[in-house]
């Protein structure tokens, strides 16, 4: 049982833990987790997402690193980029594969462990301040038992020249593995950074990744954040990202889920100032009995902000997708513009989609639209292509690629988009 693993891990952690603020924080988080327990389908937010196949298993939190990992890293599309690399295997930093090419010494790209030594002030100022622990069992669990993760600090006015790739591998060659990465991104006023957060798994055993990312965007900051999930084998992931936006910030967040037995994404935006732009785009391509759940929440807490959300899915076989998009327009968030769409194409009669927009609007002068579709490919374009001599299967491919590439193209790294489009093409 997973719970036993966790309890054992926490006892072990405490035995060797440092004293002070951090320990207190984690003890509180653990207490919260013990109080809440794992979410069950009785929770409204977890209605369709049954964690039983995870909680019934035993996982190991650490594991030896194998050469397989090097191979996987070198074969990955992300490794082809000119970028800063932080590579984590089962939640621990792998120095040999990590490489920072940023020249500006004021910009910090390091592990969380290093940041706690070298950037204590900034770290303490932001860590745990955005991703809520109260009532959020999985965040509490991560906070209590986090392994390591990425720390990115971009001081005022600075731009990180190349993307930061946060590369996570679960190596389940020998045992079931549990990893709890934790990332903290601090982009100060008028700074800018591009993040590529990516997940893989190797090995014949099961892996469970429970990750939390907190992003703070200072006034007028610009953060591009791309999440690419391709964990193969028997892999489970719970991914919580909380983005906290000050005024005039621009956030473009793209989530591509291309593999994984069970993936639950929780993406939360909180707009704490006026004139913020929040863009949330997602694509999931599922097959077999895979399950993908995207829960998003956009908090329009201040007036004059804009959010645009578009999630698209292509489902094959007996796969299942869940989309739940919550938009909260707070009382004084006048002149809010919020758009949301969820479009699904089912390629099999056995695939299932549960989609639910959730608009809670407390201000009166707002523009909010939402729409969800579940269906097959449109017949009109299909007939048009076929009437030009393109066979049905080729036409279907063209249309599906067009449908998916629309989301992939929200990524602003052309080399990566091209590689991803090839990958999507193969997957289809």
């Amino acid at each position: 049982m997973l719970l036993e693993t966790i309890k054992k891990d926490f006892v072990q952690y405490k035995a060797q833990a440092e004293q002070g603020e951090f320990l207190t924080l984690r003890e509180q988080a653990f207490a919260e987790f013990e109080k809440l327990g794992f979410p069950t389908t009785k929770h409204e937010e977890w209605k369709y997402t049954n964690l039983k196949s995870i909680t019934d298993k035993t996982f190991q939190s650490t594991c030896e690193i194998k050469s397989l990992v090097n191979e996987l890293f070198n074969a990955s599309i992300e490794s082809k980029l000119t970028a800063n690399f932080l590579v984590f295997v089962n939640g621990s930093l792998v120095n040999e594969l990590s490489k920072i090419i940023e020249q500006d010494n004021n910009i910090v790209i390091s592990s969380i462990a290093a940041a706690r030594k070298n950037n204590q002030t900034i770290f303490n100022q932001h860590f745990g301040k955005y991703a809520k622990v109260e009532g959020e069992a999985m965040n509490a669990l991560n906070t209590a038992l986090l392994s390591d993760g990425a720390f990115v600090f971009v001081p005022k006015g600075k731009t990180v020249t190349h993307p930061v790739v946060i590369f996570n591998i679960s190596d389940a060659s020998d045992l079931n593995v549990l990893a709890q990465p934790r990332n903290l991104i601090v982009a100060e006023e008028s700074s800018s950074v591009t993040l590529v957060e990516t997940y893989y798994a190797v090995g014949a055993n099961a892996s469970f990744t429970n990750v939390v990312t907190e992003t703070y965007a200072g006034k007028n900051a610009h953060v591009e954040h791309y999440k690419i999930q391709q964990q193969g084998g028997e892999s489970y992931q719970n991914n919580f990202t909380q983005i906290f936006q000050e005024a005039d910030t621009n956030i473009n967040h793209v989530t591509l889920t291309l593999d994984g037995t069970m993936v639950r994404n929780n993406l939360h935006f909180y707009m704490n100032g006026e004139h913020c732009n929040s863009l949330l785009y997602g694509l999931y391509v599922t097959d077999n009995k895979d399950f993908v759940d995207n829960h998003t929440r956009v908090d329009h807490a201040k007036p004059n902000c804009f959010s645009d959300e578009k999630y698209k899915g292509i489902l094959k076989d007996q796969s299942t997708a869940v989309f739940n998009g919550k938009i909260m327009v707070h009382l004084d968030a006048q002149k809010t513009n919020a758009y949301q769409r969820n479009q699904n194409i089912l390629l099999s009669d056995d695939a299932t989609v549960n989609t639910k927009p959730q608009l809670e609007i407390f201000a009166d002068d707002v523009k909010c639209t939402h729409g969800a579709t579940i269906g097959e490919l449109d017949e009109e374009p299909m007939f048009y292509l076929r009437s030009r001599g393109i066979p049905e299967n080729v036409a279907r491919k063209l249309l599906l690629n067009a449908f998916a590439d629309d989301i992939a193209e929200k990524i602003k790294i052309p080399e990566l988009v091209e590689l991803l489009e090839n990958l999507i093409d193969e997957k289809l």
Binding site: L385, R388, G389, E392, A395, L398, A402, D406
Partner: protein, 262 residues
């Protein structure tokens, strides 16, 4: 008009079709020989677009009777893509927008699928681009249009011009144009006509559906047919179109009613 006088390209015999239980084509007969231009006219709702859709193989329509042969093959048996690759091309009355599929990629795929079907090697990228450039010049297609998604955000006239551009690229044996002239300005009309006339080689045939004589000034038909209530009720030469332009359809409708009553 040239071509082999004894050869028939398209033969439609007593074609009947319906949609959602509604009878729309009630026994169409039409013979098109190589090199011929046929104009089909007729009031709104007569079944002209239905006829072209049935010929192109749109699945919504149920053929309830009759037969259609194309160069000796049973057209109705074929999938839409096979009809196209055998040489049938329909210029749509309302071309659809296809976001995310570029015109260039679409045409390259269409041409190479046709070549594959005919047992030919695929066209090389450079040869294709050269060929496309030629046809773009012919149709005065702006480069910006072909680099965009297929028909996406095109004006009505641009969509129609794009249909004829595709026809020029695919070089079909039989082109069916469904009101390609509607919504075109004078210059575009001339371009579209030039595109058609350029493709005419005495072998290729055209079925031109139109409401207006002005197109037929440029593309002169050998035969003009009037479709009414799902049947061809009158056929004649180019002068019939001119007569219709002046007199409208009422006299034909009256003729049909009288015949029915007799």
């Amino acid at each position: 008009m040239s071509g082999d006088k004894n050869k028939v390209m398209l033969e439609i015999k007593d074609l009947k079709a319906e949609i959602e239980g509604k009878k729309i084509l009630n026994g169409i007969n039409l013979v098109v020989k190589p090199g011929e231009v046929h104009a089909i006219m007729g009031p709104n709702g007569a079944g002209k677009s239905t006829l072209s859709s049935v010929l192109a193989g749109r699945a919504d329509y149920v053929v309830t009777g009759g037969e259609v042969s194309f160069n000796g093959k049973d057209l109705l048996e074929m999938s839409p893509e096979d009809r196209a690759r055998e040489g049938v091309f329909l210029a749509f009355q309302y071309p659809v927008e296809i976001p995310g599929v570029s015109t260039t990629n679409f045409l390259k795929t269409a041409i190479n699928e046709k070549r594959k079907y005919l047992g030919q090697e695929p066209m090389e990228a450079t040869a294709f681009l050269k060929f496309m450039r030629e046809k773009m010049e012919l149709m005065e297609m702006d480069k910006a249009l072909t680099s965009r998604s297929l028909n996406e955000g095109f004006s009505g006239g641009e969509k129609k011009r794009n249909e004829v551009f595709q026809m020029a690229m695919l070089e079909p044996k039989l082109t069916i144009m469904d009101e390609t002239d509607s919504g075109l300005d004078i210059d575009a009309l001339r371009l579209v006509s030039a595109g058609v006339n350029k493709l005419k080689d005495g072998e290729r045939s055209f079925v031109v559906i139109t409401h207006y004589q002005r197109l037929l000034d440029y593309i002169v038909p050998d035969f003009v047919h009037v479709l009414y209530k799902g049947r061809i009720v009158k056929s004649g030469d180019a002068s019939l179109a001119k007569e219709l332009e002046v007199k409208g359809y009422d006299w034909i409708k009256t003729e049909v009613e009288q015949e029915a009553n007799a």
